[in-house]
């Protein structure tokens, strides 16, 4: 299983959202911000934490955790901070996950996966979206993913499809058959993200 998140930096930095009184306090503890603040600044660090926690939440939902909105219950501790990647672990109400946040110029990408002896081989695809609104972008993202995977896997047009279950967990289907991949989708602003790995267990 894995969860991901993407944050369009042009949508959030400078918008003042993370600087709003009470905002960061709803998302994280000061102790979580502390290791990041010096290097990245408080606003940027808040979004790094947000992305990390969102990706962990999506993993938690895939693991059948009860639906809730409680970012502070997903505590991210960085253990390896580099200029373009922050790696650490996230304690969720269910388990401890490995979380990586990749820092790009235009966006942040976070992926959380079950901690194991070896790092899983996560495939990642990032898409530029231009749909007029969230719903249109969501549809566009699914179309781009299916189209690209069909080409890469040399499949037939129209066979791949992405469906979400009642808990909003996405699954990849070929015709009517669910494929053995854990996938996670995100979009924000002008960017869409697919992360997937071959599923071992579920």
């Amino acid at each position: 299983m894995l969860g991901n998140d993407i944050v369009d930096l042009s949508e959030v930095l400078g918008s003042g959202q993370a600087k709003r009184p009470g905002f960061k306090e709803r998302i994280c503890l000061d102790a979580e911000l502390e290791p990041l603040r010096t290097q990245f600044g408080e606003e940027y660090s808040t979004w790094v934490l947000w992305a990390a926690k969102e990706s962990a939440y999506k993993h938690y939902i895939q693991a059948d955790g009860p639906v809730m909105f409680a970012p502070k219950k997903f505590c991210f501790t960085p253990t390896d901070i580099r200029s373009k990647r922050i790696k650490g672990y996230t304690m969720t109400p269910l388990e401890c996950l490995t979380t990586e946040v990749h820092l790009f110029d235009s966006f942040l990408v976070a992926e959380s996966y079950t901690s194991a002896a070896s790092t899983p081989s996560i495939h990642r695809k990032i898409y530029s979206l231009d749909g007029p609104g969230q719903k249109a972008k969501s549809k566009q993202l699914k179309q781009l993913i299916c189209s690209q995977l069909t080409e890469e896997w040399e499949g037939n047009d129209g066979e791949l499809n992405i469906k979400k279950d009642s808990r909003q967990v996405p699954f990849l289907y070929q015709k009517q058959q669910r494929l053995p991949y854990s996938i996670s989708l995100s979009h924000h602003g002008a960017w869409g993200l697919l992360s997937y790995l071959k599923r071992q267990t579920k």
Binding site: V12, Q17, R20, G22, F23, R26, I27, W50, E54, V67, M68, F69, A70, P71, K72, K73, G133, Q134, K135, S138, Q168, H188
Partner: protein
């Protein structure tokens, strides 16, 4: 405050973060803020903060956890107003 009044005031709060305002026409107590109204999840924080301001209440983290549907939000506001 009557429940209808709370719903109307909450809808005004929520409206700010809904891109496609037409989805608000079909709003019901079961409407999910993220899944049905396509509100970006980071804006849930703004909705919680705006709700506190609009009703002059404090929403603790435990209550905020459940604030994912219109009904949950109404129940939380009602409970805070009456306490």
């Amino acid at each position: 405050m009557q429940e209808q009044e709370i719903i109307e005031k909450l809808t005004e709060v929520i409206k700010t973060y809904v891109e496609d305002k037409s989805v608000l026409e079909g709003i019901t107590p079961e409407t999910h803020l993220v899944n049905d109204l396509n509100i970006n999840s980071a804006h849930l924080v703004d909705i919680i903060l705006d709700t506190e301001e609009a009703f002059d209440i404090e929403i603790d983290d435990e209550s905020a956890e459940q604030m994912l549907t219109v009904k949950a939000a109404v129940d939380i506001v009602s409970s805070k107003l009456s306490s």
